[in-house]
Symmetry: C2
Subunit: 281 residues, 2 copies
């Protein structure tokens, strides 16, 4: 047995960055789970068909069940020989193989210092919610929450502004052992789109699990008048999850983009920094 | 038996205009059919629940199976007493009763001279098709056709321009006895939207069955280079359906709007004119 089942890293592998979009409705989230249809599971299966054994998919945002993506990013290490044969046709071939609810928008070779997860500078999400009396427009209903009461944009905006900054978001996070709940929330604002839908844009270096939906849930309680404007920011004083915050449903949420250092020379530095910060001693 | 099962027209009925949107994916079109899920069938059932017996729905555009609408219009005659009790809450109540793939955007009382079908000045459709190598974006895949070859916008536009005008569209119509195939096509143009999707806007006084999809099918053959630019207009010389025209799939098509006379005084006149023109002796 001289052949390893999975080629070793130095045995002719290349790192490939994949830009991915999906409709999360019929997926049990990104992360592979036995007997569940997941984005990573479906994607890895078709990649393997074209490129041979794929050494795992490392992803920027491990989206929950029902959450969508238009700008997800992941990377995989694949056999260099297989890659050379398909690099110019892989997007079109995947389009023919993958189901309609997941698409690979681009697949390009990157330096091994590129890490889709730890190398990301920030993730950007959008949450769509409508307060129209008729509910969500049918063609957008899969990715728009219908809210049964009118929402006040100035209240949403004022409450959102109080959450921006490098803060401890323990109130909005599911507690995990040995990991910090401090995050740098660089953007959280609301606008009313031309079609009347309210869209929150949320950007941070990283998010805890269900954090975006917890923030949106707290803001919606302000938007429809059940809570005062300062309430969401006030919860930042807590050191434990705030159980009175209702997590907004997943289907309104879409991961729209991930940003990386413009210069590949910055990949390794960023990844090392992120690994350090996530596990403070 | 002095009570008729359906109230007579002069027995306290009011005419109500309904603006309707739907995702056509899971409907067998607009028109009621036994044992099929249709938009009119689902809508009439819930209207009856709120307003009592509904004397049929008359619609502006009898969309085929799989075709969507954001701006469909229909009318119904309902009992005045029932209407008076719900007129201010009917949209919100229907939102709670109807399935997510059909919505009533507005419901207002109109003069009995308003006729959603014969009173319409024009119908406007949009057809969305993408030639991106990865196919249709997942969140728009239900209403966007994925085309496997690149499409040339200038060719599409030039070919489309040759079809505009009052012409005999026999080549693009399913022949029906005793009805004309002459239509006034007032607009047919293409643009590339910011997301890269090609969108055709098609407007006419009225359309024969599958006419929009036949026009789009002929234009796509020009757009990907299989047919010359003058070919679609050349087919207008035919007096029978052109079987070499491939009807484009329904899911790319959406009825986006219907226009009526601005002044209700024009309703009756328009309706009489339309009835006349549709059935030339």
């Amino acid at each position: 047995m001289n052949e390893p089942a999975i080629p070793s890293r130095d045995g002719g592998l290349v790192r490939v960055r994949l830009d991915v979009a999906y409709d999360g409705t019929d997926f049990s989230g990104w992360a592979p789970q036995p007997d569940r249809r997941t984005v990573a599971g479906v994607l890895a299966e078709e990649l393997t068909r074209i490129l041979g054994p794929v050494d795992g998919l490392t992803v920027a945002g491990r989206t929950d069940a029902g959450v969508h993506a238009t700008g997800q990013v992941c990377h995989a290490d694949v056999r260099a020989a297989a890659w050379a044969g398909v690099r110019d046709t892989v997007v079109r071939r995947l389009a023919g193989l993958l189901p309609a609810d997941v698409r690979v928008l681009a697949a390009v070779e990157v330096p091994v210092s590129f890490d889709a997860r730890f190398g990301a500078l920030c993730r950007r999400y959008e949450y769509r919610v409508t307060d129209a009396p008729w509910g969500a427009d049918p063609l957008a209903a899969r990715y728009t929450l219908a809210w049964p009461r009118p929402l006040d944009l100035p209240s949403l905006s004022a409450a959102a502004a109080g959450l921006v900054g490098e803060r401890d978001f323990a109130a909005y996070c599911k507690r995990k052992e040995h990991s910090t709940t401090i995050r740098a929330l660089t953007r959280l604002d609301w606008r009313r789109a031309p079609d009347g839908v309210l869209v929150a844009t949320v950007e941070a270096d990283a998010f805890c699990q269900a954090m975006v939906r917890s923030l949106v849930g707290a803001l919606l309680a302000v938007g429809d008048g059940r809570r005062p404007v300062p309430w969401p920011a006030g919860l930042l004083a807590r050191t434990e999850r705030a159980n009175e915050v209702v997590v907004a449903p997943p289907h309104g949420l879409t991961l729209v983009g991930v940003r990386y250092p413009a210069d590949p020379a910055g990949y390794a530095e960023r990844a090392a920094l992120t690994r350090n910060r996530r596990s403070p001693v």
